[in-house]
C-alpha cells in the first residue's frame, strides 16, 4: 500500500538578483527556511532532491549540503528545463510513496541574472538559423503557441495582455515577488514589442531564486504534527507525445492536457474542485492556453475567462495570485517548488493580504520546453 505524502515545511527566498551569492548559497538559504518551517534539522533528513538547470552538471545538491550539513544522505540532482523544480519534488514524493524514506528535502534553485533572451542562441553546424528560419527564442515560440489559440478562437492581443495586467496586480500583495508594480492595460500593450503578441511586460522575468520543501510520510507527518501539513494528492510528470507540428512548434498543450487528466484522476477531483491555481505563465500567451488545458473553462472560453476577471483574485478560480512568473519572476529550477509554496501558504491560511479565503485545494503546473509537464495537486489537511 502506498503512502500518503505531505508537505510539512516549505519556504522560498524573495526572488530577485543576487550576483554576490552562489547557486548553492541561494539554495542553502531556502533549504534552511524550509527545515525551520518544518521544525526539523538537516540530520533528520534522509534524502535530498535538488533541481537546477543552468549548472546541471555541477552537483548543486551536494554543494548545498556543503553549506548546511554534510550528513552523507543520497542526493539526486535533476534538470528538466522549466519543469526542473517540479521534477525534483516528484522525485522526493516518489521516494516516500515507495516507502523508502519518511523525510525528504527538496530544493529548487536558479541564478539567471539578467539572462536576456533564452532559446534560439544557435548550436548546430553551418550558419545561425535564428532570424533566417524563423525564431526559436522563447518569446517567439510562445507567441506562436498563443497565435494558434487566436487562429482557433479569435483571441486578441488585448486579451493576452490582460493576463499580464492581472498577474502584475496580484504581485503587489506578495512581498516575495521580484516586481510589485501594477501595469495598466495601456502600459502592457504599449511596452516594447518583443515577439508579437508578447510585449516586454508579457514576458516572465529572469531572476535568481530558490525555494525548498520538506516532504514527509503520513507516519512522520503525524509525529511532527498535522496542523500545518499539506497533502500532495497528485504528482504527475509527462513528456511530449508525438504530434505532427511538435517537430517545429513545441506543443505545450497536449502534454499539459495529459498531465491534468492524470492528476485529476489521481486526486479524485475535477477542475471545479480547485480553489486556486499557479500555472506556468512564462508568457502571457501561455496562461490563456493553460486555462483550457487544465480544464478551468471549456474549449475556446479562455478569452472570456480573462475578460470577466474569473481568474483574478476574488474571481471564480484565481490564477497566479503570487504574481506568477510574469511578475514574481521565473528562476527556472526554483519555479516548480515556489508555486507549491504559494498554494501551500494559502491552504495553511497564511497568505496574509493575498489569502484566497477558505482555500482547500490547489493545483500547480509547470512546463519545460522539449518538453516536460509537471502538475501537483495539494489539499488542506482536515
Amino acid at each position: 500500500m502506498s503512502e500518503n505524502v505531505y508537505v510539512v515545511g516549505i519556504d522560498m527566498i524573495r526572488f530577485g538578483r543576487f550576483p554576490e551569492k552562489s547557486v548553492p548559497e541561494l539554495g542553502a538559504e531556502a533549504a534552511q527556511l524550509a527545515l525551520k518551517d518544518a521544525g526539523v534539522k538537516i540530520q533528520d533528513v534522509e534524502a535530498l532532491y535538488c533541481g537546477n538547470l543552468m549548472q546541471a552538471s555541477g552537483m548543486v545538491g551536494q554543494r548545498i549540503l556543503h553549506e548546511i550539513g554534510q550528513t552523507g544522505i543520497p542526493v539526486t540532482n535533476s534538470a528538466n528545463a522549466c519543469a526542473t523544480g517540479a521534477t525534483a519534488l516528484r522525485g522526493a514524493w516518489m521516494s516516500i510513496r515507495a516507502g523508502v524514506y519518511d523525510l525528504v528535502l527538496v530544493v529548487g534553485v536558479e541564478q539567471l541574472g539578467k539572462a536576456g533572451l533564452l532559446g534560439g542562441a544557435g548550436g548546430g553546424s553551418g550558419i545561425s538559423k535564428e532570424g533566417l528560419l524563423g525564431s526559436n527564442t522563447m518569446p517567439a515560440v510562445f507567441a506562436e503557441a498563443g497565435m494558434e489559440h487566436a487562429r482557433k478562437y479569435g483571441t486578441t492581443f488585448e486579451q493576452f495582455a490582460k493576463v499580464s495586467v492581472k498577474n502584475h496586480k496580484h504581485s503587489t500583495k506578495n512581498a516575495k515577488s521580484m516586481y510589485r508594480n501594477e501595469t495598466p492595460l495601456e502600459m502592457v500593450m504599449g511596452a516594447e514589442m518583443i515577439a508579437y503578441p508578447n510585449t516586454k511586460l508579457m514576458c516572465s522575468v529572469n531572476v535568481d531564486g530558490a525555494a525548498a520543501a520538506v516532504l514527509a510520510s503520513e507516519k512522520k507527518a503525524r509525529e511532527l504534527g498535522m496542523r500545518r501539513a499539506v497533502k500532495i494528492s497528485a504528482s504527475i510528470l509527462t513528456s511530449d507525445p508525438f504530434t505532427q507540428r511538435d517537430l517545429v512548434m513545441p506543443d505545450v498543450n497536449t502534454c499539459t492536457r495529459q498531465a491534468a487528466a492524470k492528476a485529476y484522476e489521481m486526486a479524485g477531483i475535477g477542475p471545479d474542485d480547485l480553489d486556486l491555481v499557479e500555472l506556468h505563465d512564462c508568457f502571457a500567451t501561455a496562461e490563456i492556453l493553460h486555462y483550457e488545458n487544465l480544464g478551468l473553462c471549456g474549449e475556446g472560453e479562455a478569452g472570456k475567462l480573462i475578460d470577466e476577471g474569473q481568474t483574478a483574485h476574488g474571481g471564480r478560480i484565481p490564477v497566479n495570485v503570487s504574481g506568477g512568473l510574469l511578475s514574481k519572476g521565473h528562476p527556472l529550477g526554483a519555479t516548480g517548488v515556489a508555486n507549491v509554496y504559494e498554494i501551500a501558504t494559502h491552504l495553511r491560511g497564511e497568505a496574509g493580504d493575498r489569502q484566497v479565503e477558505g482555500a482547500k485545494v490547489g493545483l500547480t503546473h509547470v512546463i519545460g520546453l522539449g518538453s516536460a509537464c509537471g502538475i501537483h495537486i495539494l489539499e488542506k489537511t482536515p
Binding site: E130, G134, T137, R151, M193, I194, Q244, V248, M249
Partner: protein, 144 residues
C-alpha cells in the same frame, strides 16, 4: 584549384540537412515519411518517434506550396539579426510542417492572415559561415 574556387564550383551549401540541392533541377525540401503510420519528419532518422517502427522511413519530396498556420512578428533578437521579421509555421500541401521566415509581406498583424496560401522559395542566405561559405536557404512568400 584553390580552395575558394573549389567552394564556388560546389555551389552553396544547404542551410539545413533537409534542404536538398540536386545536381540538376530545382532545390526542394525533403521529408522522411513513415510507411507504417504516415508521420513526416525533417532530416534523416532510423526510427519513427510517432509509432516506434524502425526502418520504415522513406525520403519524400515535400511540396513548395502550403498555408500559413501561425506566426509571430519578432522585434527583439540577438545582435546581428535584422528585425522585425516574421517567424512562420507553414503546413505544406500533402503533409509536413516547416518553420521559417515569411517574406514579401509587411510585418503587420493587420496584413498577415493565418491560413493564407504561401509558397516556399529558395535564395542565397545573407549570412556566410566563418570560412566564407555561401548557403542556400528557404523562405515563405505569400502566393495568390
Amino acid at each position: 584549384m584553390p580552395p575558394e574556387a573549389a567552394a564556388e564550383a560546389r555551389g552553396p551549401r544547404p542551410v539545413v540537412e533537409f534542404l536538398k540541392i540536386p545536381e540538376r533541377g530545382a532545390p526542394y525540401l525533403e521529408g522522411q515519411k513513415c510507411r507504417s503510420c504516415g508521420a513526416i519528419f525533417l532530416g534523416e532518422r532510423k526510427t519513427c518517434s510517432s509509432c516506434g517502427a524502425s526502418g520504415t522511413l522513406q525520403a519524400t519530396q515535400l511540396s513548395n506550396r502550403g498555408e500559413l498556420y501561425v506566426y509571430s512578428i519578432v522585434h527583439r533578437s540577438f545582435p546581428g539579426v535584422e528585425v522585425p521579421y516574421v517567424s512562420a509555421i507553414v503546413d505544406l500541401e500533402g503533409g509536413g510542417t516547416v518553420k521559417g521566415n515569411l517574406i514579401g509581406i509587411d510585418p503587420d498583424p493587420q496584413k498577415i492572415k493565418m491560413g493564407m496560401p504561401v509558397e516556399v522559395v529558395y535564395e542565397i542566405a545573407p549570412r556566410k559561415d566563418k570560412e566564407g561559405n555561401e548557403y542556400l536557404t528557404y523562405y515563405f512568400k505569400p502566393r495568390a
